[in-house]
Amino acid sequence: MAHAVISCLHANLAAFQAVLDDIDQQGIKTITCLGDLVGYGPQPNEVVELVRQRAIPTCQGCWDEDIIDGLNACECSYPSQLAERRGHHAHHWTADRLTDDNKAFLAQLPTTLCRDKLLFVHGSPNSQHEYLLPDMNAFAALERVETAGAETLFCGHTHQPYVRELSGGSIRVSVQQSDSEEAREQEMILPMRRIVNAGSVGEPRHGNTKATYVVHDDTTGEVSIREVDYDVAKTCQAIVKAGLPDVFAWRLSHGFEYAERAEDASHVCER
């Protein structure tokens, strides 16, 4: 059976509606959302309410967490003070407008969802703030999936969709417990595991402006990355009209990574 996995909606209602239409047209009934319903975009309440209305199982993303717990990430989250100021502005704008009911919904979201050997998280099993980028050290990437006890890990947070298959792995070690003892040689055969990044519905940064999500067939194991056109200009206008930083609209209209991601993406914030 095919199911859709969406992530990083970022208060972009037009993109979210277009993705839902695309999912519905394929007759897919099961949707899982990997969080970041809010932040950057101009329609936080509308997006949260649509997720609730459709009863989509959802993990809590880093923006959802920050709106509830307050901004307590260290300054490593941003590459510059300017970017940090923009991020804080968007945070306060969102926190001011989000209804108490919708905040309560974000607060009760779990950090992980699990279905058989499929694990769903926002960033990584360790943290909503950790980026699993496609070029991350392959052994470290495998460790995230294996330690969590999953066969396939679905994540978001990077806004770049990809499917990564880690296979044919082994590690040879030599162990010594005392100076006099002969070293023992061992080999660990590593299991095949997959990481599927759903990209971003509401703030794509993969080089074009289309909203992205993935469809996974749990019978065949096949994963397809879907790209969906939506009315980008409509959301950009709403961003500017709302008084959110213009650069958010500029970035949305290009689909590029620009300025907001931490320089060291592998860094996990020590809170």
């Binding site: 360790n126 496609p134 070029d135 050290n137 392959a138 052994f139 470290a140 990437a141 495998l142 460790e143 294996e146 330690t147 770049q160 969709p161 990809y162 499917v163 990564r164 298959e165 880690l166 296979s167 044919g168 792995g169 082994s170 590690i171 040879r172 070690v173 030599s174 162990v175 010594q176 417990q177 005392s178 100076d179 070293a183 040689e185 061992q186 080999e187 660990m188 590593l190 993969h206 080089g207 074009n208 992205t212 990355i225 790209e227 809170r271």
Partner: protein, 233 residues
Amino acid sequence: MERWALVSGLCGDLDLYERIQSDLKKQRGIAHLFVLGDMIGPDRNCDALLTRLRQPKRGDLQPNCIYGWWEEQLLVAYGYRGEPAQSTQNRTTSIQELRKAVDPAHISWLASLQFGFIELDCGLIHGSSADVGDPLKDTTSPLILLDRLTRLDVNRLFTARSGQQFRLQLTGGQIQSKVKDPTGEQQREQAVPKRSVIGIGSGENYTLYDPASDRVEFLSVAVRSRLSNLGFG
């Protein structure tokens, strides 16, 4: 090249610390002493040891200390660090004993200690780069050990939490990574880097390391004192 001595789990035992200091004086070329946490513990008063670590006696090898699991528990209890772990009867009793064992005058010093040291291409940590309470052992999955090395980007990771003395060297292996994204598909092979995790032991068991030769020596003052008791001394 100057050698390092690595010690952990003194748990307030000044007598043990003095025996290790005395043992180190007999070794050649020891230039640095690293105390990888758990200087304190709930079982005895720790003030004399903490005072000695902070104000070494003449002739002592100057200790470089980081915090360990027990220091973390005490700092949590005093509100210096995050949220306390789930409270159980045993834990509550241990923390009460720990608070009694350490004079509050030492708390700000304990709070100033670092999580770990990076010296040359080595990481020196109580637990691991993931957590101060992470007990790395010689039986820990090599995948996890490699991850802990990768997180710090070091070639050698010295750890104390498990209390074990061991050296585990990653000697070979590889993994295939295939990435498919909207622009296409890429495949590459990554080799296992030649790196090591070294368990330094705890309490009476400690470790010497020579960065020049990469030689590790596991020692114990327990064995030495037992042997000397067998003599005519």
